[in-house]
Symmetry: C2
Subunit: 223 residues, 2 copies
């Protein structure tokens, strides 16, 4: 019973995601679904991306949180459109769904946007099951979380395009094997693009920002 | 519709939790439900607790993971009963449910146990909604996750009894305000008992272990 309901929910979500994909294709807007555990650094990474690209592209952010608008407040200084979804109003949901993203897009001026970054709810499990019609699924993993996460949360890593390995400034203070991590990533998703960064210090952010800029440009040029 | 189904699931879970509570009361076994984000250090903490208490109490562990038996393998060296639940078989579930814990308890020799530690699925959201009939809900938060987590995941912190603040050996390398964390905890749960530890170095573990030992003794003496 529970499984049938879940299938129905996922099917409805897939329809919403397809509609979003078509709309973003028509408007030539690139959209990233950024996912991670709580506290892995999504907001700091997003903040750095916006700082680097806001003079070049028109950017908007969708913030997913169960409660609080803290992350949206942190990003407000950039003066870009930010839409906050507090999932507590939907029963404390642990993920974002396509229909809610559709609702957000209706409030943005889509003719004047190039890039939308979704910060999903901090959770390595449930968001993996819900497609949002984005162009790039980006999972952020802090090295403090350990090298076993791709093996323990395989759907998240298997369905994502990009891995941003954050907090590498802390590596000297951790028992962390980069070799083991790379092996675990290889096992679940050998096609994954990997960036190693410290969003706090800025280390490695340039490569990530260039990657996103290239993808946004490519989408703008699509026929 | 989705909300009604969730209510039915939660009601069924509550029944299972009540049955577990009665059973553990009768057998005088103390049970801890340990919850956290992925990678906050639950297994290392559990490993330390077992090392310190296995000569004094008869301990068993229930490991919840979506996939892999890595954590159970790490703890196997202690030669204690360990039951692994891989939730991938239940549709990749993001939490443990009372009925599954009941199933585990049927396989343990309950007349020869004093303490059961449940390591829940790494997730600050969904496990908060499912009571498991335990004596103590313990949330582990790594300081690398940031001081805003109690505000962002209020149900988890509001419904837990104990906060284990882990990885404090990394504090000199982080921008972390202990004062802000304490304020955020106070806001959602002023009755919370807090331990500051580094499971990796062992710092602060003695106080946590003593707390657990006292609670196990107290339950054994209950009429």
């Amino acid at each position: 019973m529970e499984i049938q309901i879940l299938k129905d929910i996922l099917a409805a979500n897939k329809n919403a995601a397809d509609e979003i994909k078509a709309l973003l294709g028509q408007k030539k807007i690139y959209m990233i679904d950024m996912m991670s555990s709580p506290g892995s650094g999504k907001t700091t990474i997003t903040d750095r991306i916006i700082s680097s690209l806001k003079d070049r592209f028109r950017i908007a952010v969708i913030e997913g949180d169960i409660k609080t608008t803290k992350d949206a407040e942190k990003l407000a200084r950039h003066g870009i459109p930010i839409f906050q979804i507090e999932t507590e109003r939907f029963g404390g949901d642990c993920h974002l769904e396509g229909s809610w993203i559709k609702g957000c897009l209706e409030r943005f001026d889509l003719d004047n946007l190039d890039l939308i970054i979704i910060e999903n709810v901090g959770n390595l499990v449930c968001p993996a099951e819900f497609q949002l019609g984005d162009d790039e699924r980006m999972v952020v993993l802090s090295v403090t979380e350990g090298e076993d996460k791709p093996a323990k949360y395989p759907l998240m890593f298997h369905t994502s395009d990009t891995l941003v390995l954050n907090k590498i400034d802390l590596l000297p203070h951790l028992d962390f094997s980069m070799e083991d991590l790379m092996k675990n990533v290889q096992d679940v998703n050998p096609r994954m693009t990997i960036f190693q960064v410290s969003a706090r210090t800025g280390l490695g952010m340039e490569a990530l920002v260039s990657h996103i800029a290239e993808r946004v440009e490519a989408k703008k040029k699509q026929a």
